[in-house]
């Protein structure tokens, strides 16, 4: 298995990203100049996105056994890079008043993106682990990234330690699972069929156990109950842009890996695995929403809600097994995109008003925002309603997809859980909205003006526009997704 030159072409996005990081690093080495480093990273990522866009038409290359570069991969490469860009822009303004060593942050961000790209393009355990770990490693750094206010410094440290220890343990689970699978099948590619006992009769249970371990690892990264405990603390502790990255790209990339894994190894054929995921889905939906119910810290609310959103996604995942057909994969894909948009948006609003020295992550800080800054409030409201799955927003279409997949496969229990969960969800989303429309009260709250940071506002407006447009007329995205999803099967 040698890499020919031809193989390099599909790897363009990955290579460009890597190159970007290297250049950025050299740039730092040459001269610390915040803007330029950030600029290099952003432009590089944009190039990566564009290159994958160019590669996209009818792309379907298996580059070495490790990486599959098909339209689906490239689609998510684009999504990843764009999200990374927007997060980078948000971070730029967030970190700008940090006086020392703020450039490296962008290196980490770039590295993390590399990991994400590898993940979305992996159909082999080795590449998967490689990507996951690259992503996590850089995230440790981002989570622990030094910031000014004493409180947040200690908290980011705590968050980092928790994340590191637990995620390392999770990787341990995953690796052990993979090892068992390898022992079973003698191949490390996803497509290796599991249930042939090989010549030695390690039976069904063995494979099931292996998959369980593997899935637990994934479940941790996706913060699915009961492996969700770290989520709120890490979200709360880490700097907002890091949280954003963790919550969006980290999750989405992981879910793509899981999707490929489940689809290519017919893992759900194992009844026990199926039921396990079933349980985890119901548990995540209900627990996530319940935990958020009376929460007053914005980051924690979003953390808990992300738990339930991952639960919603599992519904589609299970549906994909029940009924052959693209709907469920499209549902997952669409929902991931929607989730990306609305989470970045929601976190973005928080980080645009915050800075590394002072974060406004309590719901009270947003009291009366609607009358202080209607546009920002409108954007925030839009994001929250979208998370709640209300029409006019992309979140509703996503919900519709999930519902459709669920109905198609007659997963009634899950649908009931979904409805109850969304019902509870409404309560805490609307609570935040209500705070914003309350009469304004001038307490230690932030001053915000678009003039201060055009770039971030532009990103937010862009996201808002996407939120609404795709919510009202999703057809373009739908058709793209319909096309790329066909590559998964």
């Amino acid at each position: 298995m040698t890499i020919t030159l031809a193989d390099l072409v599909p790897l363009m996005p990955l290579l460009i990203t890597t190159l970007t990081v290297v250049i950025a690093m050299i740039a730092v080495g040459v001269k610390r100049h915040y803007a330029s480093v950030a600029g290099i990273t952003i432009i590089g990522l944009l190039f990566a996105a564009i290159s994958s866009l160019l590669l996209m038409p009818a792309a379907n290359y298996q580059v070495t056994p490790l990486l599959i570069i098909d339209e689906y991969t490239l689609f998510f490469t684009i999504i990843t890079c764009c999200s990374a860009v927007s997060i980078a822009i948000l971070s730029y303004q967030y970190l700008s008043d940090l006086d020392d060593y703020k450039e490296e942050y962008f290196l980490l961000l770039g590295l993390a993106t590399i990991g994400a790209i590898i993940m979305v393009s992996s159909n082999h355990y080795v590449s998967a682990i490689l990507g996951i770990e690259t992503l996590s490693m850089s995230l440790y750094g981002m989570v622990a990234y030094p910031s000014h206010s004493d409180k947040s410094r200690r908290w980011s440290l705590e968050a980092a330690v928790k994340y590191l220890v637990l995620s390392a343990a999770a990787s341990g689970f995953m690796l052990f699972g993979i090892a068992l699978i390898y022992a079973q099948t003698g191949s490390l590619s996803f497509s290796s069929v599991l249930d042939n006992g090989g010549t030695l009769g390690l039976g069904e249970d063995f494979s099931a156990t292996a998959l369980t371990l593997l899935f637990i690892g994934a479940a941790f990264k996706l913060s699915l109950a009961p492996f969700h405990m770290w989520t709120p603390d890490v979200y709360e502790g880490s700097p907002l842009p890091a949280t954003t990255y963790l919550a969006t790209i980290g999750k989405v990339a992981m879910f793509v890996v899981l999707l490929r894994l489940i689809e290519s190894t017919n893992a759900l054929a194992f009844q026990s695995v199926f039921i396990m995921i079933y349980f985890i889905a119901v548990l995540s939906i209900l627990l996530g929403n319940l935990l958020a119910l009376l929460q007053s810290n914005l980051k924690r609310i979003l953390a808990y809600s992300s738990i339930s959103h991952m639960g919603y996604l599992l519904i589609a995942l299970l549906a994909g097994f029940e009924t052959s057909g693209l709907i469920s994969i499209e549902a997952i894909t669409f929902y991931l995109v929607a989730y990306m948009i609305m989470s970045i948006g929601a976190f973005g609003v928080a980080s645009i008003v915050s800075s590394s020295s002072n974060e406004f992550d309590s719901v009270d800080d947003y009291t009366g925002l609607f009358w202080r800054n209607p546009i920002l409030a409108a954007i925030f409201t839009g994001m929250l309603l979208s998370l709640a799955g209300i029409p006019l927003t992309v979140g509703f279409i996503g919900k519709f997809y999930i519902f459709f997949a669920g109905v198609e496969s007659e997963l009634w229990v899950l649908l009931v859980a979904l409805i109850i969960g969304s019902g509870i969800g409404l309560y805490y989303y609307l609570r935040v909205v209500y705070r914003m429309v309350l009469p304004q009260e001038q307490k230690n709250s932030f001053e915000f003006s678009i003039e201060k940071n055009y770039s971030s506002s532009a990103i937010l407006l862009l996201l808002f526009a996407l939120l609404i447009i795709l919510g009202v007329y999703p057809t373009p995205l739908v058709s793209v997704i319909e096309r790329v999803s066909s590559y998964i099967l």
Partner: protein, 499 residues
């Protein structure tokens, strides 16, 4: 295209109203009034259009989300037209009632008002079930804001309750809708949410029954009917007057409309099986809410409960499913739209004047505000079903028709007429008769209705008298539609009856 214009005029008008606030806080209301008036004119112009095949006028059909066969399909028939006109009319009334009532954040208020109206019109004209559901939810958000921002002491709770009730039950309907679409896929080999296509879908008994329940729950929550009614009193007592007008006058009617247009025609068989339960529920909610209404001291809560009680006649009429009863239901929707809106405006007017909704603090206002008293008596008398006024026609026809399909529940429901007189007269007694308790509140602002208010009330009175004295002009509009619906379901129901 007219229908699209209708909706977009409101959407745009809303935005303009919001922006115009920056110029002058008095502009929004003018913009809003202009917008609704224009809309009303356009609506009336629709009456001139002669219906194409199947009695549908101004139908628009474009692909929206082809992946699911979802299309952007609007059309209006007589029934929709009646309700659109009601919407437009009450839209004007609502703007008027807000005219002096809303002072802060006027721009955003009228934005929400107009967007709610837009959503409602969408609901009344959407013939693609996805589109229908889309608007069904869209109209909630602005309404939520209206209650949550301009509401009274307990607004957060009320708004939240309103939103969650309708949303959660709405999701049940969504599941049913998707079921229908998927069944259509299984049977016809393609996705479609087109009303006419889904009519053709066959479903096995249980599945159909469950889907029907999904619709029923969603609609009876909006209607509302016991046991899904308890959001209404809170919403009404907390909402600003204009909000109550929209809520009672129009939003509740979307539920009734849904029952007539979707719940029964899509699932005729199971609806037939279900009709005794539905009618029983209706009868119960008529009596129960009439009784609870009598027990209230908060005048807005009281009126809210009475509207639940009155909407019971609609449910009764719909599930009797014969022409008389359906016409009755439709007339009740229209007449109650006016009378309830007017009563809420009166209650709001009182609250605006004396800053309390507690009837125990009122009394003997007749001497102080004779005009208001006369208006109040007129509308409460209308509400208790005085012949010659719209409500009578509606309730009488509904009962007359219902009697032919279920005697027992009709008779029970008829007792609602007695209770209606009990609570209506009780309100009059409490507020306008008896001796004047000036000590309970400061009455410096207790002035009689001004000219603007008189115009609005006068318009509504004329409307009610018209409905009561010559209902034919309304019945003619809805008749072909209902006949059509009846014919569509006739075969099935007949078959069921035979077995």
């Amino acid at each position: 295209m007219i229908l699209v214009y209708l909706i977009s005029i409101l959407f745009v008008g809303g935005l303009v109203a919001w922006l115009s606030e920056r110029v002058d806080p008095n502009y929004p209301r003018i913009v809003a009034l202009a917008t609704v008036l224009i809309d009303l004119v356009v609506m009336i112009s629709l009456l001139g259009v002669d219906p194409s095949s199947g009695g549908w006028v101004a139908s628009v059909n474009a692909d929206w989300i082809p992946r699911f066969g979802i299309s952007f399909y609007f059309a209006a028939d007589g029934l929709s037209l009646l309700l659109i006109l009601l919407t437009g009319f009450l839209g004007v009334i609502a703007v008027g009632s807000a005219w002096d009532d809303i002072h802060e954040k006027t721009g955003f208020f009228y934005f929400n008002l107009l967007w709610t109206l837009a959503g409602v019109i969408g609901v009344f004209t959407a013939l693609d079930l996805f589109l229908f559901f889309f608007f069904w939810e869209v109209m909630l958000i602005p309404m939520y804001f209206i209650i949550a921002i301009w509401g009274h002491e307990n607004k957060n709770y009320a708004a939240m309750k309103f939103f969650i009730f309708t949303q959660v039950t709405g999701m049940l309907m969504l599941v049913s809708i998707i079921m229908l679409g998927y069944l259509h896929f299984l049977q016809m080999g393609m996705f479609s949410f087109n009303y006419h296509d889904l009519m053709k879908v066959e479903a096995s008994g249980t599945i159909e029954y469950l889907m029907m329940l999904g619709f029923f729950v969603a609609f009876t929550t909006k209607l509302p009917s016991v046991p899904f009614h308890s959001w209404l009193p809170d919403a009404h007592s907390q909402a600003p007057t204009a909000g109550s007008v929209i809520l009672a006058g129009i939003l509740l009617k979307t539920g009734a409309y849904g029952l007539i247009r979707f719940a029964v025609p899509l699932f005729p068989e199971s609806s037939l099986d279900f009709s005794p339960i539905a009618m029983g529920l209706a009868a119960f909610s008529i009596l129960y809410c009439a009784k609870v209404a009598f027990a209230q001291t908060d005048i807005k809560r009281l009126i809210a409960y009475t509207s639940v009680s009155h909407m019971g006649f609609v449910t009764l009429g719909v599930y009797a499913w014969n022409e008389l009863a359906l016409q009755g239901a439709v007339m009740t929707m229209l007449a109650h739209g006016l009378s309830a809106a007017a009563l809420f405006m009166l209650a709001g007017g009182l609250q605006h004047r004396i800053h309390t909704r507690n009837m125990q603090h009122m009394g003997g206002f007749w001497g102080k505000v004779p005009k208001m008293a006369v208006v109040a008596i007129f509308f409460s008398v209308a509400a208790l079903g005085m012949p010659g006024l719209g409500n009578f026609i509606g309730e009488f026809l509904a009962l007359l028709g219902a009697f032919q399909s279920n005697i027992l529940f009709t008779v029970i429901a008829a007792f609602g007429l007695i209770l209606a007189s009990v609570y209506s007269l009780w309100v009059i007694q409490q507020v306008f008769q008896g001796e004047y308790k000036a000590d309970k509140f400061e009455d410096s602002h207790l002035l009689d209705l001004n000219r603007r208010e008189m115009i609005y009330f006068g318009a509504m009175m004329i409307g009610l008298i018209w409905m009561g004295m010559y209902p034919q002009s309304f019945l003619n509009l809805s008749e072909p539609v209902l006949i059509e619906l009846l014919n569509n379901t006739q075969a099935v129901t007949a078959a069921v009856v035979r077995n």
